[in-house]
């Protein structure tokens, strides 16, 4: 027992001190086989050795290669026979060498750790292909989200969790036990048909963020140039003034809130459109058009990006008073008041407007942050469906309302003064009010009692015209 204990001790330390010298495991340890001596195969073998397993590599030329101190190298057939668990760390193209081994592999657990270079590279998942080649074995897909590097170095944070899938519960349990010993926590994702999803997982770099990011960048660029021309070029052309320094803060602080508000309304527009579509169709049992579907599926990302812009807007606003520019002009203003012996009077309306404008912005931002917090996976998981949609839908529309009102108060009566339409273009904050106003108006329509009643019934499954439906002319709901 003492021997085993000591080996256990070692296996636990592994997760902390990676890449330690592998020592031969004591004889009573479990044997695991690794096919493939590439980067991943070696790393896997090393890690298994460290965890106290006896490792057998399967190789075409067994005698030639002394790979890891402590690991055995055998021919494919012998290696396959020596262990219950076999990691297949070779590329899919070479899987067919396993076909002649069908006899030795019968009843064995094969772990397919392979990845592809791009999505849909092959008609079926690698693991399913492997299973079809060796129907007698139990194939488990897994570990493919790990890089060879993180196997050697102890898993980093994003890698503690590995996903596995397979058709045999027992086989999965064998694999999970090994995962646990390696310091990983394996999550069973279901049957082998999930394998393709697992194989695609490491290929993606924020796939759902692409469209929202492009929208954000596009909008930012467009408004940046618009404001650059309207504010800075205009001043230069008409008054010969160089106020280019305003790009860094003033311009940024215009672009951020504009993009944020537009993206926030883009986040709530599809929901409103969907409601009208349902009203128009009189049923909820018909699919939305594709563009609406994909739009609705990226609302989370749209919302979080718009929160990011709002956050920058807040920071840019808060540093205003420590800018040289502002400090200079405040002093200048006071000095000129005295030199010209003018007096100013306190204007209560301006105070009301200014304070309301700031207060609405603060409350809006507070709700914004709340939306962001509830969209953290660990929070949204503990919320019930009603709670989540209360926050996201109800409070979300309230956020939009507050932020829109904030912008209107910012504009105030300047909307009417013609002097602000430089070169006949409206200022940025005016442009960005269009979309949110439309969304809010449409939403207002939707919550008027009569419309609301219809939409509620439709959402509960009621269909216009369906009441009179009789058995004879019944139509399938989904054609």
């Amino acid at each position: 027992m003492t021997d085993q204990e000591r080996s256990e001790e070692k296996s636990e330390c592994v997760s902390l001190s990676p890449m330690r010298e592998a020592v031969p495991a004591p004889p009573e340890c479990e044997r695991v086989c690794v096919f493939g001596t590439g980067d991943l195969g070696l790393s896997l073998g090393l890690r298994l050795l460290q965890a106290g397993y006896r490792v057998v590599f399967g190789s075409r030329r067994p005698r030639s290669s002394l790979l890891l101190h402590g690991a055995q190298v055998l021919g494919h057939a012998a290696a396959a026979q020596s262990a219950l668990l076999i990691f297949i760390a070779v590329q899919r193209e070479h899987y067919d060498f396993l076909v002649p081994l069908a006899n030795q592999l019968k009843g064995k657990v094969l772990v397919d750790v392979s990845n592809n270079l791009r999505k849909n590279q092959y008609p079926e998942a690698n693991a399913e292909y492997l299973q079809s080649l060796v129907p007698g074995a139990e194939v488990v897909k897994g570990f493919n989200t790990l890089s060879a590097w993180s196997l050697q170095n102890g898993p980093i944070d994003a890698n503690r969790q590995v996903y596995i899938c397979g058709d045999s519960v027992e086989a999965k349990q064998v694999v999970m036990a090994v995962a646990t010993k390696l310091g990983l926590s394996a999550l069973d994702q279901g049957s082998l048909s999930v394998a393709r999803e697992l194989e695609d997982f490491p290929l993606q770099l924020f796939p759902q963020w692409r469209l929202p990011l492009r929208i954000a960048i596009g909008l930012s660029a467009a408004f940046f140039f618009y404001l650059l021309i309207r504010d800075i070029m205009y001043a230069y052309v008409t008054q010969g003034e160089d106020i280019s320094f305003r790009i860094m803060v003033s311009l940024a602080n215009q672009v951020c809130p504009i993009v944020s508000l537009i993206m926030l309304s883009l986040c709530y527009l599809p929901g409103v459109l969907a409601s009208f579509l349902q009203l128009y169709r009189g049923t909820k049992y018909r699919r939305f058009p594709n563009w609406l579907d994909s739009w609705m599926l990226c609302r989370k990302q749209l919302g979080l990006l718009s929160l990011g812009f709002a956050f920058l807007h807040v920071l840019y606003t808060l540093i205003l008073p420590i800018r040289y520019y502002l400090m200079f002009w405040v002093t200048e203003h006071t000095v000129s008041l005295i030199r010209e012996n003018r007096t100013t009077t306190f204007d209560t309306t301006t105070a009301w407007r200014g304070d309301s404008y700031l207060s609405l912005g603060i409350l809006g931002f507070g709700l914004y942050v709340l939306l962001g917090i509830t969209s953290l996976p660990s929070i949204s998981n503990v919320l019930s469906w009603r709670e989540f949609s209360f926050v996201q839908s109800k409070l979300g529309h309230l956020t939009l309302l507050l932020c829109t009102a904030h912008t209107y108060l910012y504009g105030w009566n300047r909307f009417l003064s013609s002097s602000i339409y430089k070169w006949y273009t409206p200022p940025g904050y005016m442009l960005c009010l269009v979309l949110p106003s439309v969304v809010l108006l449409l939403k207002l329509l939707l919550i008027t009692p009569c419309v609301d009643r219809t939409i509620t019934r439709i959402r509960q499954g009621w269909e216009r015209g369906a009441d009179q439906r009789n058995p004879k002319d019944s139509q399938p709901l989904i054609p």
Copy 2:
């Protein structure tokens, strides 16, 4: 194999493109039965079809209804016999139609997806009632936290996770496999006795937040009116001045910190009271009174709400210098200095006080945020018990101390000047200092060595008087 592969492919896409046209599944697919053709039944059927299952609806009038393109409709008995897994998507009142089907349902897995309209509507959980009606079948409760809508549209974030429970492990595994295919992750919550909890889950809208929210709203309203009268009405009545614009920022920025500090002390008061109660009783093995119990159970929510108010306070404070009001008076002040040819001298004490006041506030807020972060489920789950209570208890009291000191420094020597007691009422920040001061004093008492020793022993299970207890007059600890 290729046919099946293609069908697998489809089933995976489902989670992304909802509401797609359902096509008849290939013949080798598993068969699933759905009883009930209401909103939820239809949505379930549709989703199952999309995931590649063959769906059979059980109906009273099988011939009449052609429900979903690709789904079969049979009589109840025939439908029950056709599949192992049967979703019961009818209302509890109609469950008794299942009694005559007892024979066909023997050994089948029945999934109870029902919900109630309110808590405790029936003496026992629907799923338990179902089990009692059909004792031969294996009832699994589950999927009831999903809305029909999210079934059709692919689960939204709060809905990826579904909870199931049941007495048969095998039955639960069958259900979990289906859940995984539908793109959901099912969590096994234990035996069927948990069903009631699952049935109550979708009914609740932030049940634990109600009391803290009411306290927050009550306190905010009370202090709002108090300050409205004391500051704004007072100025109007005694000096005829209209400073009503101060409501938006100045007043809000008084209410927020006051409510925040009071709620923070409400968060640490019950712990102190509990300690004194334990000291007084000389044991920890007696239940706290009900009010103390429920108070202690909503401390998390109290704390998070008070963090919210603190956050608003920070924002309101930071925008002070860009308010028209402040800018106006700073200019005015400078102008008057010059016109009246006065000079000012820099007062080091004021500078010390002001800077300390700000610095304490910043540090307090930093700790506040830290408390908030550790109360995120994903963080508190990776903390050990000692770590969590170190942060929440030790650093929590430190936060309270810093915030209280911040408020005292804000008041400074104004506490003594009688001019601030307008209409004989103390200013808001003075009122809100009472509770935190009491909590801190009591806590100070508790950590004096002699009291601390006793409380520590009590917490370790020691009981006053228990040492002499002898076998004869032993009393049950809990009467």
Copy 3:
């Protein structure tokens, strides 16, 4: 059935109202045995009673002790025989009383709930020792992360989740079922060999944070004294001015950004060093030296602490304009302008510099926060390996670049003016630029195409000199 239902109802409420009077459970309830009548044993028994179990305490003197109203007390042997599940709540030193009970314990599930006082107190885990004493029983380790207190009071947040491990899957399922009934969620961590890790878990108080915290405190103290002498003492000694009030905000606002920037570069330095080491060695299959290993393993904590300091820096900066000090000097400045009849001109270069400096800081802080958000466990778990390292590595270096540029712009041309070298020492911001500049330079070297190509190949498993390796003189990769 009704009886049972009622008891079920009670068991569910338990998690909300702790410490309720325990009532004898109805006879059809499951029986659970607890050995040990200390604090933990009693608390466990109480909680089990509340959850509807029948509890049997095993005691040396069964007649003497009437412990909990509703619980039975039997001799050890009788108690052991009465139930399948036995909690061992005695200290490891007394485990040997179980040896004579070997017969009665055969096939029983023993739950070892013990903890030790310090790490590595015994050569093997308590649970493994228990298993060796009673080989016929199934030992499961678990519940040891709960305190007796939280058992009585319903689990608090950090305690909902309990970890169990054991060699028998059935035994673990029995234990998990009980855990679920007690309102806990049990996570299976694998075989009994994990027990030591579970036993160490409650002993640790932020073990991974120690080194980073010490670095942070050390750096803060060093820079605090450095700046205290250089700024405040210097002013006092050379000009007799007392500017000690600056400690609270000005000094703090210098220490925070300095420590933050240094710790951020400490966070990216080891990665760069590791790359150079790999380049030099020409392989990635050799272990890094110990110091580099442990350094790399605390980068997360280093990074999060530096984010904390950056957060304080932001707050300290934003409150600058409401400081008495600043407001005084702004007024003073204006007054003197007028009295001395000076005029100022707006300097575009200063405006550019100031605004760029602020803007870079804001963007840097935004990225900083993003890094912090992705390091939340619930976020990093949903990111793939590529996504996580894209954010942490690519955006992390960008953050370092922005923050370093922010500091350079802050210094601007002051680097050259000799007047700032008071007492021949450079100002703090200059000192703190050394490390980040070095890290960025080295990183720049690494991403030059030729170096990058080599390092990429090395990371893919290529080894310098390995190409010519022939079977005969092959060396084990890990010596």
